[in-house]
């Protein structure tokens, strides 16, 4: 009896219902290579048992409609971006089999960067690169792989070295990268080469099933219509013109188990190949021609895409979010979320009312009225800890129950030059966080004092680092406090804590912040235990210095 040995693969639809016109046949021209390659890929997906897990990324080009045919998950990508789209899919669904199917314009021209970097990362994807040396879908324009002398609609006199340069050899280019595990170039033009293509396709997909890393098969493919040849002549032309320049062969194969010497070499150079990375799932099986055994799920994702599972309840604490203690409330998580949604003004409301301007806190009676609701500007050299100074004020202000904001100057200033930041502590909701007219100016160097002194409001408090500022600020409507912050800091152990000395001075003068809240703020912001201790001593020294100064002035 006769039994079927080859027929339309299951992973190809019986009827192409997404297609307009005749739904029994592809939209490809007679003699086109795409249909052959589609068939071989689909047959392989059947044989390896991965149809359900497969997501095919189709490009822009003739194969943009690959989703008409493949009975797998389909994602159509922007021109050239298929490797990036495939990366997004594979990283999101590590158990899926992600295939990127691209032509020469898509992959080698507009998508040159995406393929290079996906290959370099060693993404666990399989790329089928169909090279027909021409732009087919758009009607015969030059491709990066068009041959020298080849006439196209945009190289009507033939491609020249002078104008367009050499045709791009993608396998050779990618073979310069360390990460790809498998690169092979094959061709579609006769039965021998077609069967080599079939074998390469199977290996490239098997590699992904085994979690080995990045595989790419470049397939030289005839385009009879655009080449303006019969299917037979197109195959002959491919053989005689493309094959000599684009030599078929294996350009990379790291799928065999690494030998000892390779492992040693890689360990010495501090890097590991994708093949040895995949050591958890060694690729001992190299499929023989026409005899690929079905591989059974579940997949063995490589280390690269393996992710840890984190229970949802642990997420807030991993983000450093502390649960609020609300006495008398049930500790159910739904209750807490509901609470947030009540606080958030934006959920399920088309119109958000203005928030009530509630009094958030109040300043202790020890704080003179002129220092309440301060608008603070802090300025100095980059590297003097100006931003941290502001952060400590804002953090401790928050811990004191005030409304606070901290706004930095950002960017190149952080790497030298001047830095400044704006801090507001308020009992009201803070409107503008910008401090354009400071009521308190902390100045750590001379240029910043000269720059910001004119901005200070009448009656403003100016605390300046007299170690670096030899002339006191000249304005008769302000209050000035000299503080030799850098010298005091050096005595304690490091000039770097001059910023904390300034905080101490501010605390002693204004009583805006208590020592407890400032110390707690330092604990929250400074990670190094030794530095925390140093900072605390600097703050106490700054307080002491200002108290002594006041005593002298009063006596």
């Amino acid at each position: 009896m006769y039994t079927i040995v080859q027929q339309r693969p299951d992973s190809i639809y019986d009827l192409f219902e997404r297609k307009d016109g005749d739904q029994h046949v592809t939209h490809y021209c007679p003699g086109c290579g795409h249909g052959v390659i589609h068939k071989m890929i689909a047959e392989c997906l059947d044989d390896l048992g991965v149809q359900d897990r497969t997501i095919l990324v189709s490009p822009v080009g003739c194969s943009v409609f690959a989703y008409y045919y493949f009975d797998v998950g389909n994602v159509q990508a922007p021109h050239g971006r298929a490797p990036a789209v495939a990366t997004g899919i594979k990283r999101s669904r590590p158990g899926s089999i992600v295939l990127s199917y691209q032509g020469d314009g898509d992959l080698a021209a507009i998508g040159g960067n995406e393929i290079l970097h996906a290959a370099n990362r060693g993404e666990d994807i399989t790329v089928f690169f169909v090279n027909n040396a021409i732009y087919g879908m758009t009607g015969g324009q030059m491709a990066p792989t068009s041959l020298l002398g080849q006439k196209t609609t945009t190289s009507p006199f033939g491609r020249t070295l002078q104008n367009e340069g050499y045709p791009m050899r993608v396998c050779e280019l990618l073979a310069a990268l360390e990460a790809p595990v498998y690169l092979e170039r094959t061709a579609i033009f006769d039965s021998k080469n077609n069967m080599r293509t079939r074998k390469a396709i199977r290996k490239a997909i098997q590699n992904q099933i085994d979690g080995l890393g990045f595989s790419l098969v470049e397939i030289l493919s005839p385009c009879p219509t655009i080449w303006k040849m019969t299917p037979q002549d197109a195959r002959k032309w491919l053989n005689e013109n493309m094959i000599p320049y684009y030599k078929p062969g294996v350009y990379r194969d790291k799928t065999a188990p690494p030998t000892k010497s390779i492992v040693t070499l890689q360990a010495a150079s501090g890097s590991s190949s994708a093949a040895s990375e995949a050591g958890q799932t060694p690729a001992t099986k190299v499929p023989a021609d026409n005899a690929v055994e079905p591989s059974s799920p579940p997949p063995a994702p490589s280390r690269r895409t393996a992710r840890k599972e984190v229970p949802l309840v642990e997420v807030p604490s991993l983000l450093g979010i502390r649960a609020t203690e609300r006495p008398g409330e049930t500790s159910g998580s739904a209750a807490l979320l509901g609470n947030y949604n009540e606080r958030s003004r934006f959920f399920d409301s088309t119109v958000s009312p203005a928030p009530p301007r509630s009094e958030a806190g109040f300043f202790p009676s020890t704080v003179p009225e002129k220092y309440q609701n301060p608008q603070i500007k802090i300025a100095g050299f980059g590297g003097q800890g100006v931003l941290l100074l502001g952060e400590v004020l804002a953090e401790s202000g928050m811990l004191s129950g005030y409304r606070v904001s901290w706004l930095p100057s950002y960017g190149p200033e952080m790497r030298g030059g001047t830095a400044h930041c704006h801090v507001r502590l308020s009992q009201h909701e803070i409107g503008s966080p910008l401090v354009s007219r400071p009521t308190i100016l902390l100045s750590l160097n001379k240029p910043s004092l000269l720059k910001f002194l004119p901005e200070a409001t009448p009656g403003a408090l100016i605390i300046y680092n007299s170690s670096l500022i030899d002339e006191p600020p000249v304005r008769d409507d302000i209050e000035t406090v000299p503080l030799s912050a850098t010298e005091i800091a050096e005595k304690i152990g490091s000039p770097k804590v001059a910023n904390m000395v300034m905080i101490g001075g501010l605390m002693a003068r204004t009583h805006l912040l208590s020592k407890e809240t400032v110390f707690a703020a330092i604990d929250a912001l400074v990670k190094n235990q030794a530095l925390i201790e140093l900072n605390r001593r600097a703050i106490e020294a700054g307080m002491q210095a200002v108290l002594e100064l006041e005593a002298v002035l009063q006596s």
Binding site: R18, S96, L318, I430
Partner: protein, 366 residues
């Protein structure tokens, strides 16, 4: 209260994770880099994916892939990077893929500078990529709202299968303020339309190509209907002291904070000023502004761009009243006192008509 003093940029990342986002693809750029940096730390910590892509072009296409695969995913950037993403955003909109894009605006055009500006308004609110589409655009004005609106952005993106943008300026991104985060993390929804690489979704296709003219027209009409529903249901704004206002200031982001202080200052000096702050830029609160224009005759739009927001304000109040316009750019942000001076000047110099006021007042006119 368990509040955390945190930068707006970092608050976005924590909020995204709490909203069930588990994939971040991005490329660093000042003043948005803290988003990528925080994502690089927190996403792997919670079992998610962080990948620094080779470009913004690749980032947005990785988002296209992750969203196709059914994950809640996000990226972040600033003007120059957002320009590069526009192609991908058009595809996301065309394929109806939800995602969240944070744009921390800096100065432009070209390389511009890293100071705060609002010059990406048009490219985010009006489209920016090719074709007929809209992003949902949310404009926070505090670190707390960077959290709240990021969570809302994920909700709206999934509800409408559409890209949602958190549009903030450099100051809102860089500023630290106390933030009250939700204390429980959400489970991301399961998306049956996605290509998840399983038997249940094998028949799904994600695409934006509709070859036949009629089919594409139908697709676009469906999108238009979706945008109509968004306009109808998702407007959010803040109105402050507008009921008796003789002049209403309009602004978003960091500007709205300055405007609120300016309103208080104006009221202190006896000028009945109010503030209207669009929180959703698309959908724009057109109807609400129109209603206010029934009782208020003077409007002043302040923005860190050269007349982008003001176009929408003028459309909203139609020709009933003129709308004055004050702009600072290049990273300059007006002070409260500066805006107060503009308010006084506006009140004392009646505006001519819409056309005449199309010339920005800028620094010269004040």
């Amino acid at each position: 209260m368990s509040k955390e003093l945190i930068k707006g940029n970092e608050a976005i990342v924590k909020a995204a994770i709490l909203a069930g986002c588990r994939a971040y693809f991005g490329y660093p750029i000042t003043p948005a880099s803290e988003i990528a940096e925080a994502a690089a730390y927190y996403f792997p910590t919670v079992g998610g994916t962080f990948l620094q892509a080779e470009s913004e072009v690749a980032s947005i296409n990785m988002i296209y892939g992750a969203s196709s695969a059914g994950l809640r995913c996000m990226t972040g950037s600033s003007g120059p990077g957002i320009s590069l993403m526009q192609e991908g955003i058009s595809y996301l909109a065309g394929s109806e893929l939800p995602c969240v894009i944070a744009d921390i605006m800096r100065g432009g055009p070209g390389l511009g500078n890293i100071g705060p500006e609002q010059g990406d308004y048009n490219q985010m609110v009006k489209g920016g990529g090719h074709g007929n589409y809209h992003n949902i655009v949310l404009a926070p004005n505090s670190a707390q709202e960077m959290c709240d609106l990021t969570i809302l952005a994920f909700e709206l993106a999934d509800k409408y299968r559409n890209p949602a943008v958190v549009l903030a300026d450099g100051y809102i991104g860089q500023m630290m303020e106390p933030v009250d985060f939700p204390e429980t993390a959400q489970e991301a929804p399961v998306k049956d339309w996605a290509a998840r690489g399983d038997a249940a979704t094998r028949k799904n296709v994600i695409t934006s190509i509709y070859l036949s003219h009629e089919a594409l027209e139908q697709h676009e009409l469906r999108l238009a209907e979706k945008y109509r529903r968004i306009r109808e249901s998702e407007v959010r704004y803040e109105a402050y002291q507008v009921s008796d206002a003789e002049i209403v200031l309009v602004g978003y982001g960091i500007v709205s904070r300055v405007l609120k202080s300016a309103v208080d200052m104006a009221r202190h000096y006896g000028i009945r000023a109010g503030l209207f702050r669009p929180i959703t830029l698309f959908p724009f609160p057109t109807q609400q502004l129109a209603e206010i224009s029934m009782s208020t005759e003077r409007f002043l739009t302040v923005e860190l761009s050269d007349g982008q927001l003001v176009d929408d304000v003028r459309l909203a109040i139609s020709r009933r009243h003129p709308c004055d316009f004050y702009s600072r750019m290049g990273g300059c942000v007006p002070s409260t006192e500066e805006v107060f001076d503009v308010i006084r000047s506006t009140i004392s110099h009646p505006a001519e008509c819409n056309e005449a006021m199309a010339v920005p007042m800028g620094l010269h006119a004040v």
